[in-house]
């Protein structure tokens, strides 16, 4: 017989989205349980570990030397022919900032949630959803150290990551097509020669449909990784082949030693159409809130998590846990992140089929310009000036 526990809110997943949701719900005075299937929060790392400075203020996370590995001043976009353009923080907006120790970062957010009043269960895996007679989600079944639990709550917030199960069990369609998935691999290389001031993004056929990144963790170490669009992966372990080949061809990287290998997949699509149902809100990677161009999901997950935590409190105050009430969650997170995601989705769709020659021309077109802030329209104007024939390919970005 499963032990039954009653909560105001159960949050599934101890990543940034789950911790922020738990934090804000607990701060509002709700009884919150956060469950995590692994034995510790933040590990294993499945992330390039680059986060933008600008949104930390927005979500109330002060920079902390516990989890800051390195501070960068700009992003370097490198074309297949090696030509590059540097975007300083002022120009790149939210694409520069910190390279972090994600495991410590995640742990810090979870600690904040605990200090706000959240209770936690480690090594506790969700195994199914509990629905009432009307089909509303009213809890989850879970397994904790081999013991079966029923965790009942009128609000379930599922932040269970890319491999999310809770949404699917509840009947929300979170399926992805190969074109909407980038599969990723990364090595932390030590003893390499890098420009410590710039994180690098290498685009072109060396990373089909995605990009290679060099995110500096110190003056001589970096996360060196790759994302490849699954629709362009033909053979097993293609992703590893592409990454190894890139490193071999760059002597400054090839001399490095790998101290950590990280793998995973990210969605590169728009978020799912509906992230709620009666009694349930999906947050972060589980709702496909990952940026389609950068593959970054931490910021979006944190912002959505905060909205979910606040709406959980509002739902309890109103005594209404319906999908209709949770529209406030849908509207809330979409207002913050949907526009940017849509623009980047269009750009990603272009990138999948863009030739190396076109990319070379785009980067070349940006040489020599001094501008305060770069936007898509700025890029298109510069390309139009120098390579008008390329504009045919980029028409629908206008």
């Amino acid at each position: 017989m499963a032990e039954v526990q009653e909560w105001d809110v159960v949050v599934i997943g101890g990543g940034p989205g789950g911790s922020m949701a738990a934090r804000d719900a607990a701060r509002a005075g709700l009884e919150v349980l956060l469950i995590e299937k692994r034995q510790e929060i933040g590990s294993p790392v499945r992330c390039g570990e680059g986060i933008a400075r600008v949104w930390l203020d927005e979500v109330g996370i002060p920079p902390n030397l516990r989890w800051i590995a390195h501070e960068v001043n700009g992003a370097r976009i490198v074309a297949p022919n090696g030509q590059f353009v540097d975007l300083t923080e002022a120009m790149a907006g939210n694409e520069t900032g910190f390279v972090v120790h994600r495991d410590i970062f995640d742990r810090t957010l979870a600690e904040d949630a605990v200090r706000a009043g959240t209770k936690t269960l480690m090594k506790c895996s969700a195994t199914g959803v509990i629905k009432n007679g009307s089909g509303a989600v009213v809890g989850i079944r879970a397994r904790h150290w081999g013991e079966e639990l029923e965790l009942r709550a009128p609000v379930i917030i599922s932040a269970d990551g890319y491999e999310s199960q809770v949404g699917r069990w509840a009947g929300i369609d979170t399926k992805l097509s190969p074109r909407d998935i980038n599969t990723c691999l990364q090595y932390e290389l030590v003893g390499i020669d890098i420009d410590p001031d710039f994180n690098e993004f290498h685009i072109g056929s060396m990373a089909p449909g995605g990009y290679l990144w060099i995110f500096n963790k110190s003056d001589d170490s970096a996360n060196v990784g790759i994302g490849v669009n699954l629709s362009l992966v033909k053979n097993r372990a293609d992703v590893k082949m592409y990454l190894d080949r890139f490193i071999e061809r760059h002597p400054k990287l090839a001399k490095g030693q790998n101290v950590e290998t990280v793998a995973g997949a990210v969605s590169v699509c728009m978020p799912i159409e509906c992230t709620t149902m009666d009694g349930l809100m999906l947050v972060g990677d589980a709702a496909r809130m990952i940026d389609p161009i950068t593959g970054g999901g931490v910021a979006n997950a944190c912002q959505a998590g905060m909205v979910a935590g606040r709406v959980a409190k509002q739902a309890h105050d109103a005594g209404d846990f319906s999908k209709g009430f949770f529209k406030a969650y849908e509207d809330g997170w979409r207002a913050v992140i949907e526009d940017q995601m849509f623009r980047n989705y269009i750009a990603k769709e272009k990138l999948i089929s863009m030739t190396d020659d076109t990319i070379n021309k785009i980067i070349d077109a940006l040489q020599g310009y001094q501008i305060e802030r770069i936007t898509t329209m700025d890029i298109l104007r510069m390309v139009q000036d120098r390579y008008p024939e390329v504009m045919e390919e980029l028409q629908d970005l206008l």
Partner: protein, 49 residues
């Protein structure tokens, strides 16, 4: 790597990430997306339980 990439990619939700391995339920439709998704080629073959 136990990264869960294959689990999240499976179009029919037939895969489960266990402590030490991945299990595949009879719901598997043999699309082999999981094999292509694995960044390190760890899935040599997909054996259905």
């Amino acid at each position: 790597m136990r990264c869960g990439a294959c689990v999240g990619t499976c179009p029919v939700n037939a895969m489960t990430l266990e402590e030490t391995h991945v299990t595949v339920s009879p719901d598997c439709i043999s699309c082999l997306l999981c094999l292509r998704t694995c960044p390190v080629g760890a899935l040599d073959d997909v054996e259905v339980e």
